[in-house]
C-alpha cells in the first residue's frame, strides 16, 4: 500500500459507480494519463450486471461479455479504487463527501463522471411486502451473495430483458423457475426480438438465455396481481390473458424494468430531462466538468454503457478526438436502447394493481388509499409521511410517478441516510478507512 497523502484525495477525474460505465470511464481516463479515482457503494466492483460471485472480490466474468477484459485493463492502471463508500454530499463545488461504516472522506475532483447505474422499478400489488417477494435483479444479487436456491420454486415476473438473464442464473443455481411472466405483449416485444436478430452479438446473448430457459414457460401479457402468505410468501396469483392462476412458490422475483439513478446528478444541479440526466454527445452534463455515462442518461443496456463510459473518460481527460471516434458505435447502440424502451413500456392496467389498503411506501407503511387523496407528491409526503423513510422515496416515488404521475421533490443532501457525524465533516483519514482499496485481483 502506498503512503496515503493528501494528494490521494485529489483526482483529475473522479468516477462515481464501478459498474460497466464507471469501469470503462475510469480505465480510459487513467490510460489517458489522468489521476483517477473510482468510488462505489457496493462491497465489490462490477455494479449490478457484473456483480461479483460470493467469495470473489472481482467482477463476475463468467458471461464473456467483456467484464474480464475491462477489469484487467482497469487494474493495470493506477486508478484508486474505493469500494463500499457511499457518496452522499457535495459540500462545495469540486468536492464530494463519502461515507463508509466508521469514516468519511472528502474527494476533490477536476472532472466528475456520474455512472450510478439503474435500479429496478417496483410496483405495488397486494402482498408485495411479504418476505421473499423481491426484485429480479435482487434475487440474482442474493444468489451471488450466497443465497442457496437449489430446489426452490421461483416465479419471475415484471418486465424487461433482466427476466431472461436472471432465469439463466437461477437455473444454473439449480432453482426451479416455475415460469416467467412478462407484462409486455408479444406484439410489443416482436420488434425488439427482430432487432436482436440484426446484431450477431445480441443473437448469441439471446440464444444463450433461451437455451438455459428452454424448459421454462415464458408468458407474455402476464403479470402478478397478488402475493399470498402467512408472514412469508406461499403463492402468487398471475393474470395471464385475462385468466387468474395461483402458483405456489418460495420466491417471487418481480421488477418492472429499470429506472435510472439520477439522484446524485440532480443533487449536483445537472439538468434532468424526461427522467434522465441530460448530456451532450461527449456525455457532458449541463455542468461543464460533470459527465454522466450509462443508465442515468437513459436505460440502454451493457453495450451502450460501456461506450458512454469510454467517451466520458476520454472527453474528461481532454481526448475529445478519440472520444468522437466512438460516436458511430454509440449511435448504433442507442437504437437498441430505443427498441428496449418501446418493447418494455408498461401497460396502463398495471396502474390498477394496488388496492386501497396496499402499502405503497414501505418505509412508513402508507397505503395507496390515503395517497390518492392528495394532488401532488409533496402534499402526500407532508400529510401521509410517504417518502419520509430511509429510502427517501426511491421506491415509492418511482411507483407514484407511474401510478399517479407525480414528480418527487428536488434532491437534497444527504443523498442517503448517513451518520450524523458524517454531516459534520468529522473527516477520517483515507488510509484508516479504506482497507479494501487498491486490492490486487
Amino acid at each position: 500500500m502506498t503512503t496515503q497523502s493528501h494528494l490521494a484525495h485529489r483526482f483529475q477525474t473522479l468516477i462515481v459507480g464501478s459498474g460497466p460505465a464507471g469501469i470503462a470511464a475510469a480505465t480510459c481516463a487513467a490510460e489517458a494519463g489522468h489521476r483517477v479515482g473510482i468510488i462505489d457503494d457496493n462491497p465489490n466492483p462490477g455494479g449490478q450486471i457484473w456483480r461479483s460471485l460470493r467469495g470473489q472480490s472481482t467482477p463476475d466474468t463468467s458471461h464473456g461479455d467483456g467484464a474480464s477484459e475491462w477489469y484487467r485493463r482497469l487494474t493495470a492502471t493506477s486508478a484508486t479504487r474505493l469500494q463500499g463508500w457511499s457518496v452522499f454530499d457535495q459540500p462545495e463545488a469540486g468536492i464530494v463527501r463519502a461515507e463508509r461504516q466508521g469514516g468519511t472522506v472528502h474527494l476533490h475532483y477536476d472532472n466528475l463522471i456520474i455512472a450510478t447505474g439503474a435500479r429496478e422499478r417496483f410496483l405495488p400489488f397486494p402482498g408485495w411486502t411479504l418476505p421473499n417477494v423481491m426484485g429480479v435483479g435482487a434475487i440474482q444479487a442474493m444468489v451471488k451473495g450466497g443465497l442457496p436456491v437449489a430446489g426452490k420454486r421461483i416465479v419471475l415476473a415484471g418486465s424487461g430483458p433482466l427476466l431472461l438473464a436472471v432465469a439463466a442464473t437461477l437455473r444454473a443455481a439449480e432453482a426451479i423457475v416455475v415460469c416467467i411472466c412478462e407484462q409486455a405483449s408479444l406484439r410489443q416485444l416482436a420488434p425488439f426480438a427482430l432487432g436482436l436478430a440484426a446484431d450477431p452479438a445480441k443473437i448469441m446473448q439471446g440464444l444463450r438465455y433461451k437455451a438455459a430457459t428452454l424448459d421454462v414457460p415464458f408468458h407474455t401479457s402476464a403479470w402478478p396481481v397478488e402475493a399470498d402468505g402467512d408472514g412469508i410468501l406461499r403463492s402468487v396469483t398471475i393474470l395471464h390473458h385475462g385468466e387468474k392462476q395461483q402458483i405456489s412458490c418460495d420466491y417471487l422475483a418481480c421488477g418492472f424494468h429499470l429506472v435510472p439513478n439520477t439522484e446524485l446528478a440532480a443533487m449536483l444541479g445537472c439538468r434532468i430531462e424526461a427522467d434522465n440526466v441530460a448530456v451532450d454527445e461527449l456525455q457532458r452534463t449541463s455542468i461543464s466538468n460533470i459527465f454522466c455515462a450509462g443508465e442515468p442518461t437513459g436505460i440502454g443496456g451493457l453495450e451502450l454503457s460501456l461506450i458512454e463510459g469510454q467517451i466520458a473518460g476520454l472527453a474528461g481527460a481532454g481526448q475529445d478526438k478519440e472520444a468522437r471516434l466512438l460516436l458511430d458505435k454509440k449511435r448504433r447502440a442507442s437504437h437498441f436502447a430505443d427498441r428496449l424502451a418501446a418493447a418494455f413500456a408498461l401497460r396502463s392496467e398495471l396502474k390498477e394493481l394496488p388496492q386501497e389498503t396496499t402499502l405503497v411506501c414501505r418505509c412508513e407503511d402508507v397505503p395507496y388509499g390515503s395517497l390518492k387523496q392528495h394532488h401532488s407528491w409533496r402534499a402526500a409526503k407532508l400529510h401521509t409521511r410517504c417518502g419520509m423513510g430511509p429510502c427517501q422515496g426511491r421506491i415509492c416515488g418511482t411507483a407514484t410517478h407511474f401510478l399517479l404521475g407525480w414528480n418527487a421533490d428536488s434532491v437534497r443532501p444527504p443523498l442517503l441516510p448517513v451518520r450524523i457525524a458524517s454531516l459534520a465533516s468529522l473527516e477520517a483519514p483515507l488510509n484508516s478507512a479504506t482497507s479494501n482499496t487498491q486490492e490486487t485481483p
Partner: protein, 85 residues
Amino acid sequence: MSEQMRPEQIQITIDQQSITVAAGSTVAVAIALAGLNCRTSVTGEPRGPLCAMGICFECRATVNGIAHSRTCQLLCEPAMDIRTQ
C-alpha cells in the same frame, strides 16, 4: 457445531444465535439462512430484502451495534453480531 472450521466458513451471531455461513456471504443472505426476517415494519409487518442493492432499506438490521445498517451491502465478517430490528 465444529470448533475447527474450514477457512471458507465463518461464524457469526444473529439474534444471539450462533450460525455458520460461507465466507463472502452478505449479511442479508445470512439472515435469510437463519430463517429470520431483517426487520419489522412500522405497522408490524415482517420484511426482508426487496432490491438487494442498497436502495430500498428493507434489509436494515443492527450490525455490530450500528442500527439501520443495510445488510445487503455488507459482507459477513468473523464474530459479526447481527440483530434483526
